[in-house]
C-alpha cells in the first residue's frame, strides 16, 4: 500500500466549523482551474458568433455612438471640453468592467448550482475567474481607446486632452475597481442564492447605478450643493479618475478616493463573510 498510516494530511469536517473560513492556501491549489475557467469564459463568449472576439471592441464603440447621439447631440450634455468620442469611451472603461463583473458574480451561486451540487472546489474560484476574465476585456477596451486617442490626437490633430502623470496609478485603479465589484458581487451572490427576487432587481440596479455615476456626464456638471451625494457613490471617483489619468480632465479629491476605498474594504469583508457562510449549505436550498 502506498499509504503511510500517519500521513500528515488530515481534514476534519465539522458542523459550522468557524464563522470565517477562508483558506487562501486551498484557493492557491486551484489556480489552474481559475485560469481554465477564464479561458472557458473567453472561448464560450465568442464561439458561434461571426465576428468573434471583435465584439469586445465593437460593443463599447456602439455604446459610444449611442451616447454621442442621444446624450451629446439630443440632450446636449457637456463633456468637460473633451471630444465626446473619447469622453464616453473613457467613461465606459471603468464602468463596463464594474457592471459586468458585478452582474456575473452576483449570480455565481444561483447559476452554478448544478455544478456546485456535484463537485467540491473552493467556490470563490468562480467569481475570481470572472474578475480576471473581465480584465482581459478591459485591456482590449483600453487598446481600442488608445487607437482612437492616437488617431484624434495625431491624425486629426485635436488638442485639449492628454495623459496626466497620475496615469502611473492606473494599475491600482484597476485593482480597486476589481475588488469593489467582486466584494459587492459576493454579497449579492449570497443573497441571490436565498432570495431569487434579486435576479430581477440586478439589471435595474446596474442601469440606475450607471446613470447615477458620471459615465455620460462629468461630475463637474453636478451643482456643488449636490456633489456630496454623487461622492457617496464609490464608482464616481473611479470614473473621474480614469478621465483624469487618460484625458487630463476629471474631478477627484483624495477624500473621494479614500471613501471609495473604505467602501470597497467594507464590501470585501461583508462579501467574503456572507459568501463563505452561504457556500457551505446553499445546495440544500436550490
Amino acid at each position: 500500500m502506498s499509504h503511510s498510516p500517519d500521513a500528515p494530511y488530515e481534514l476534519i469536517l465539522r458542523a459550522n466549523a468557524s464563522w470565517f473560513d477562508l483558506s487562501l492556501k486551498n484557493l492557491w491549489q486551484y489556480r489552474d482551474l481559475l485560469m481554465l475557467l477564464v479561458r472557458r469564459d473567453f472561448v464560450a463568449k465568442y464561439k458561434q458568433t461571426i465576428l468573434g472576439p471583435l465584439w469586445f471592441v465593437l460593443q463599447p464603440l456602439l455604446m459610444t455612438l449611442v451616447f454621442t447621439v442621444i446624450f451629446g447631440q439630443v440632450a446636449g450634455l457637456p463633456t468637460d471640453g473633451l471630444p465626446p468620442m473619447l469622453f464616453y469611451l473613457c467613461g465606459q472603461l471603468g464602468w463596463n468592467y464594474f457592471a459586468q463583473t458585478l452582474t456575473t458574480t452576483s449570480g455565481t451561486l444561483a447559476t452554478n448550482a448544478g455544478l456546485f451540487s456535484k463537485v467540491y472546489f473552493p467556490r470563490l474560484v468562480v467569481p475570481l475567474s470572472v474578475s480576471v476574465s473581465n480584465l482581459f476585456t478591459l485591456v482590449i477596451q483600453i487598446g481600442t481607446f488608445a487607437v482612437f486617442f492616437l488617431y484624434l490626437r495625431y491624425a486629426v490633430g485635436m488638442r485639449g486632452f492628454g495623459l496626466d502623470w497620475h496615469v502611473v496609478f492606473l494599475p491600482f485603479l484597476v485593482i480597486h475597481t476589481a475588488l469593489l465589484s467582486l466584494g459587492l458581487g459576493l454579497v449579492l451572490s449570497a443573497l441571490t442564492a436565498k432570495y431569487r427576487d434579486l435576479t430581477h432587481v440586478m439589471p435595474i440596479l446596474v442601469q440606475v447605478w450607471m446613470y447615477a455615476s458620471p459615465v455620460i456626464y462629468p461630475l463637474s456638471k453636478i451643482p456643488a450643493d449636490w456633489r456630496w451625494l454623487a461622492r457617496l457613490n464609490p464608482m464616481t471617483p473611479v470614473i473621474e479618475s480614469y478621465r483624469l489619468m487618460l484625458l487630463g480632465a476629471g474631478t477627484v479629491t483624495i477624500a473621494d478616493i479614500a471613501a471609495s476605498v473604505a467602501i470597497m474594504v467594507l464590501f470585501m469583508i461583508a462579501g467574503l463573510l456572507l459568501f463563505t457562510r452561504t457556500e457551505k449549505t446553499f445546495v440544500d436550498i436550490v
Binding site: 499509504h3 469536517l13 458542523a15 481554465l36 472557458r40 472561448v43 455544478l115 432570495y195
Partner: protein, 417 residues
C-alpha cells in the same frame, strides 16, 4: 481495538446527522421570508435556534458512524431516500452536516456525475483539462496523463472537435476517462457507472477494481446495483431512513438489504398497500397454490395491476433470482408478448411458464412495473418460489444444485460406437 494501532482509519465518520428544514427546500423568495417573519411576530415565537426543532424538520441522516481503513472498498447501499446521497454530499464537501464530524486522512475526489463542468463549445482536449481541474487535478498532472485518458476513452480522432458534436457514448466515455484517471487517496463514486454501453461499463468496473487492489486506494461506492457492490466492495454499509442498519462484509449486508426490501414488498402485497402491484399469486395449472413446485412443473403467475391515471406504455416484468442473487429468468410483457397495451384502472395479468427448468432451491421473485422508461414500482423479493426434487430424467439420479447448477436442461444423451 488492536487493529487501530496498525492502521488508523482513513475515513472516520462520527455521529453524523443532517437535517433539512422542509420549508427551506426549494428556493425561498423574499415574500415567503417576510410572511414567516410576520408569523413569528404575530404568534410571538422567538426566532432563536429552538425554532429549528419543528415538525418541518426532516432528518436525512441521524447519528451515522463508521470507519473506513486505507485500501478498503466500501459500498453504501440503501433504498431511495435512505440518506445515501446526503452522506455522499457531506463526504464530498458539497454540503455541511448539522452535527457530528468526519475525519479524512487523505485527498478526496468525488464523482457524483460524469462530465461535471463539460462545456459543449469546447473541444474534447479543452474539456479534459477543464474537467480534470474541476475534479482537483493540476494542469501538469492532466498533461502527463492526457494520452492515457484519450486512449481509454477511444476518442483519439475527435479530440479536437467540440464535444457538442460527440455522440452521447463518446461524451460519456471521455468524461469517465478523466475521472478514472484521478489519483486521490480516497475516491467517492456515485452510481455513475450506470452509463455507457455494457462493454464500457465492464471496463470502468475493471478500472475501479484495479484502482483499489493494485494501487491500494480507498473507494466509497454508492449504488443500487447489488451485483456491482458485491463484485467490488469488501465491506458495505446499509442505510435505512438515515440510520446505519447494518455494516460488515458485503455479502451479509447485501443479504440484509434484500431481506429488508423483501419484507417491505411482502408487507405491501399483503396489505394491498402497493401503488400499482396490488396482488401477486403463484398457481399450478389446477389453480392451487402449493407451498412448493416440482422441477419441470407448469407454473402460473397472476398479477393484479392498478393505476388511477392512464399508463400509455406499461411494461411489467417478473424476475427470478438464484439463492445467491443472480438474475436467472425474466418474464416480461415486452419480451414474451411485445404488443401495445394500456393500463387504466385494474388489470389482471396471467403468464404460464411451462416445464420450469429450475433445480431444487428457493428463488427470489422481483416484480417491476415501468411506464416506457420511468419506473412506476419495483418490489424486490416480493415472493419466494420453492422448487423440490423430481426425477425429471427418469434416471433415478437427482441433480445436486451445488454441483449441477440451477438450471435443469431438457436434454438426452445418445452414444454411438
Amino acid at each position: 481495538m488492536a487493529a487501530r494501532a496498525v492502521t488508523a482509519p482513513i475515513i472516520e465518520v462520527r455521529n453524523l446527522s443532517k437535517s433539512y428544514r422542509l420549508g427551506a427546500i426549494g428556493a425561498t423568495t423574499l415574500k415567503d421570508e417576510m410572511s414567516r417573519l410576520w408569523q413569528r411576530l404575530r404568534f410571538g415565537r422567538s426566532g432563536s435556534d429552538d425554532d429549528e426543532s419543528t415538525d418541518d424538520e426532516f432528518w436525512a441522516l441521524r447519528d451515522v458512524s463508521f470507519d473506513v481503513r486505507p485500501g478498503e472498498v466500501v459500498g453504501i447501499i440503501g433504498r431511495n431516500g435512505a440518506g445515501k446521497s446526503t452522506l455522499l454530499k457531506i463526504l464530498s464537501r458539497i454540503t455541511q452536516q448539522t452535527s457530528g464530524t468526519v475525519t479524512l486522512r487523505g485527498r478526496v475526489a468525488s464523482l457524483l456525475e460524469v462530465g461535471t463542468g463539460f462545456h459543449p463549445d469546447l473541444t474534447g482536449r479543452e474539456n479534459v483539462f477543464l474537467n480534470g481541474a474541476i475534479l482537483g487535478m493540476t494542469r501538469a498532472e492532466i498533461r502527463s496523463k492526457f494520452d492515457e485518458i484519450v486512449a481509454f476513452a477511444e476518442v483519439e480522432r475527435f479530440i479536437d472537435t467540440p464535444v457538442k458534436r460527440y455522440s452521447s457514448g463518446m461524451y460519456v466515455r471521455l468524461a469517465f476517462a478523466v475521472a478514472a484517471h484521478l489519483e486521490p487517496e480516497i475516491l467517492i463514486v456515485d452510481e455513475v457507472l450506470a452509463v455507457g454501453d455494457a462493454e464500457f461499463q465492464q471496463k470502468c468496473l475493471g478500472k475501479m477494481g484495479g484502482i483499489a487492489s493494485r494501487e491500494g486506494r480507498t473507494v466509497i461506492f454508492v449504488s443500487h446495483n447489488t451485483a456491482a457492490v458485491e463484485a467490488l466492495c469488501h465491506r458495505a454499509v446499509l442505510l435505512e431512513k438515515g440510520v446505519v442498519s447494518a455494516s460488515g462484509d458485503s455479502a451479509s449486508v447485501l443479504a440484509e438489504y434484500v431481506k429488508g426490501m423483501s419484507n417491505y414488498a411482502r408487507d405491501l402485497l399483503e396489505t394491498g398497500g402497493a401503488r400499482h402491484i396490488r396482488t401477486f399469486n403463484i398457481y399450478n395449472v389446477k389453480d392451487e397454490s402449493p407451498a412448493s413446485f416440482a422441477i419441470g412443473d407448469d407454473i402460473v403467475f397472476e398479477t393484479e395491476l392498478f393505476s388511477e391515471e392512464r399508463v400509455n406504455h406499461p411494461s411489467y416484468g417478473i424476475f427470478i433470482h438464484s439463492p445467491k442473487g443472480e438474475r436467472l429468468v425474466g418474464l416480461h410483457t415486452d419480451v414474451q408478448q411485445n404488443s401495445q397495451w394500456i393500463l387504466e384502472g385494474a388489470k389482471r395479468l396471467r403468464i404460464i411458464w411451462r416445464n420450469v427448468p429450475l433445480n431444487v432451491g428457493s428463488y427470489r421473485i422481483d416484480l417491476a412495473l415501468w411506464d416506457y422508461s420511468s419506473e412506476l414500482e419495483t418490489l424486490v423479493g416480493a415472493r419466494t418460489l420453492n422448487i423440490h426434487a423430481a426425477d425429471v430424467y427418469g434416471s433415478g439420479v437427482l441433480p445436486d444444485p451445488a454441483y449441477m447448477g440451477s438450471i435443469i436442461p431438457d436434454a438426452t444423451w445418445s452414444m454411438t460406437q
